[in-house]
């Protein structure tokens, strides 16, 4: 190892074999945290899901096929998450481009974009009630100006449509943050080359721009999907148990008088598995299509 001067932080530091044997020690703190706060609880959830009143059983999983409520809530969760992640990317993409192009305002806009991500889902839900609820700020303003019926107007907020709107509030910023990075890393000379070859805007978008953004769109929409699947607070504030999404069913099993923790565990396992499978399948499907 010849080296002139001290190694700099961006240089790849090489260790000899003797040193390498102790390298794993550096990973120990993070490994411990992950083990105690992620793996152990996950294991507990998984373990407990297999017991009904102290004896081993698969009933908690079989009930998925028996009880219509579980199947329907899984379907509701899936369709809500697909819809919101699709809309989140669709709306967030042009905004992310505008933020990327905003010049000096970019830092400020990025910071602004991050704010919704710091709010608890419950707060987001109540914020929507305050703004668009029956006696919400905008509802009353619209009543004053256009004489709308507040009850009719704000009814949507407490249905699945309201959930879509409120979810987008914290999904769109996630799209923006991921895609601004993608725009910054984009190779614009590809676009210029295509332009000089006489390609139309549509051709450039489809054949050059989209493939270029594909990896970021892929990971971005996966993230949105996962967030949607697990979101709970917003739905709790807006629709209570009226819209039956899977996290809400889990919640009722944990909190009800007739608490069924083991059933809640099984549903949590199903939620985790389905989310993971969808994301892995989705990324596989598209990764095959774009040769990288």
């Amino acid at each position: 190892m010849r080296r002139s001067g001290a190694p700099r932080c961006w240089e790849r530091t090489e260790f000899n074999l003797e040193e390498r044997r102790y390298l794993w020690l550096l990973l120990l703190p993070v490994a411990l945290v992950l083990a105690v706060f992620l793996l152990w609880p996950l294991f507990l959830v998984l373990w407990e899901s297999f017991f009904v009143e102290g004896t081993f059983s698969l009933d908690n999983y079989l009930s998925l096929f028996v009880r219509k409520l579980y199947r329907e809530s899984l379907a509701t969760s899936l369709s809500l998450s697909f819809l919101t992640s699709f809309l989140g990317v669709l709306i967030g993409l042009p905004i992310s481009y505008a933020v990327y192009k905003s010049g000096r305002a970019k830092g400020f806009l990025m910071a602004l974009t991050a704010i919704p991500l710091t709010l608890s889902g419950l707060v987001v839900g109540f914020a929507f009630i305050v703004l668009l609820g029956t006696s919400g700020f905008f509802t009353l303003l619209l009543k004053k100006w256009f004489d709308i019926n507040p009850l009719e107007f704000s009814a949507f907020l407490f249905t699945w449509r309201g959930l879509v709107v409120a979810y987008l509030y914290f999904l769109i910023p996630r799209t923006i943050l991921t895609m601004v990075v993608a725009w910054s890393n984009a190779d614009w000379s590809l676009i210029e080359a295509a332009e000089s070859l006489g390609a139309s805007r549509a051709t450039i978008a489809r054949r050059v721009l989209l493939p270029m953004l594909a990896p970021a769109l892929l990971s971005g929409s996966s993230l949105l999907f996962a967030v949607s699947m697990g979101a709970f607070g917003t739905a709790f504030a807006l629709t209570g148990t009226a819209v039956k999404i899977l996290p809400m069913i889990i919640y009722t099993h944990v909190s009800d008088m007739s608490a069924d923790i083991a059933q809640a565990d099984a549903l949590a396992v199903v939620l985790t598995l389905v989310t993971t499978l969808v994301i892995v399948g989705y990324e596989r499907f598209f990764a095959v299509k774009s040769p990288r």
């Binding site: 190779d187 000379s189 590809l190 210029e192 080359a193 295509a194 332009e195 000089s196 070859l197 006489g198 390609a199 139309s200 051709t203 054949r207 050059v208 493939p211 774009s290 040769p291 990288r292």
Partner: protein
């Protein structure tokens, strides 16, 4: 080989482009003949890339007119200019095979399927990459990628080909061979090429004419030989090639005064402070015992071996003079040796300091 519309010349008429309050380029008037190979050279930040992007259409001039052939193109968008582009980073489409890359422009312009097939194969053949048609760009070396980029740009029969530092990212060997391949393609196809580079040696070796830029303005335009042997300013003399610049004074009567010497000039120049330029290969060792004009006594202080030549640094009263000698048998000087250097009046060139003292026209 070219399509119905052959390559055309490019004319820049009083071009200026401003970013905020600073002019990136200003007062540029330059015409490039049809089928000509023109290089634009200059230090980084001199505006050469801006000039290229003005011709391509990515940058719109604040002043003046860009013409392709007779047609003013200020308002013509890039995709309708029919101007080819080659970038420093190749800019190949990573999601397409080499074949698809070359065929991209033809398909985008809705050429017939047979024409797409024929021209794509022809072009891949021309750059010697026919056997790799189904590879992806990432599987290629930099030099190969740049060949494909050339083929892709030429496939659509552009009227002008613009190259922005196309060889700067390549290693020396590839750079050299590809340089002459570009020249060959240009000669065979008769296409007008504008070639931007910061490498003056590259520019001198392949261009019909070279345009030297400095701080957004044209410093000198001419053939490689003109720029090398007859630079118009100290900057040009310094940027193009290696030169000895002796800061002294012209006496107005055909002599140049420097450190107590009086050198004879080929033609008298106006009296006043000036610099005398002598290229290191135009200095010779004066024959033994011969005294006369344009002889300088010097002490050899250092030597650099450069392959075909050795460059000696000779000290004349504290000022270094560079001397190039061919590495032929029996030649060579020792460090510490005293030498007498000689040059012909026709091999020197007086550069008045005028340009240096005038405030910059740019910024």
């Amino acid at each position: 080989m070219m399509g119905p519309e052959r390559s055309v010349g490019v004319a820049l008429e009083g071009i200026g482009k401003r970013y905020g309050s600073a002019w990136a380029v200003r007062d540029i008037s330059l015409s490039v003949g049809a089928g000509e190979f023109l290089s634009i050279v200059g230090p980084s930040g001199c505006g050469k890339t801006t000039l290229l992007r003005l011709v391509a259409g990515f940058v719109r001039p604040d002043e003046g007119t860009v013409r392709l052939g007779e047609q003013p193109v200020n308002d013509v968008p890039v995709r309708e200019r029919r101007v080819g582009l080659v970038f420093q980073n190749y800019a190949l489409f990573p999601n397409m095979t080499l074949y698809e890359n070359v065929a991209f422009g033809l398909k985008a312009q809705n050429r017939s399927a047979t024409e797409v097939r024929r021209r794509t194969s022809d072009l891949l053949e021309m750059v010697g990459m026919a056997d790799r048609a189904q590879s992806y760009p990432r599987q290629l070396s930099g030099g190969q990628q740049q060949r494909i980029a050339l083929a892709r740009a030429l496939a659509v029969e552009p009227r002008v080909l613009l190259l922005d530092e196309p060889l700067s990212a390549l290693d020396a060997k590839v750079r050299n061979s590809l340089r002459f391949e570009i020249k060959r393609i240009q000669r065979d196809s008769g296409i007008t090429m504008i070639y931007v580079t910061h490498d003056q040696e590259e520019a001198l070796s392949i261009s019909d004419r070279v345009a030297l830029m400095r701080k957004g303005a044209l410093e000198q335009v001419g053939t490689p030989i003109e720029l090398y042997s007859d630079p118009c300013s100290l900057f040009a003399a310094d940027f193009i090639g290696v030169s000895n610049l002796l800061k002294g004074e012209s006496d107005g009567e055909g002599g140049f005064l420097w450190k107590g010497h009086r050198f004879i000039l080929e033609t008298p120049v106006e009296r006043g402070p000036a610099s005398l330029m002598i290229r290191p290969e135009r200095l010779f060792l004066a024959p033994e015992g011969v005294a006369g004009a344009n002889v300088i006594e010097a002490l050899v202080q250092g030597r650099v071996f450069l392959g075909p030549i050795t460059r000696f640094s000779c000290n004349v009263e504290g000022e270094p003079l560079l001397l190039d000698l061919l590495n032929v048998a029996g030649a060579g000087l020792k460090v510490g040796e005293r030498v007498r250097l000689h040059f012909e009046p026709s091999d020197s060139c007086v550069l008045q300091d005028l340009k240096e003292t005038v405030p910059e026209g740019v910024n």
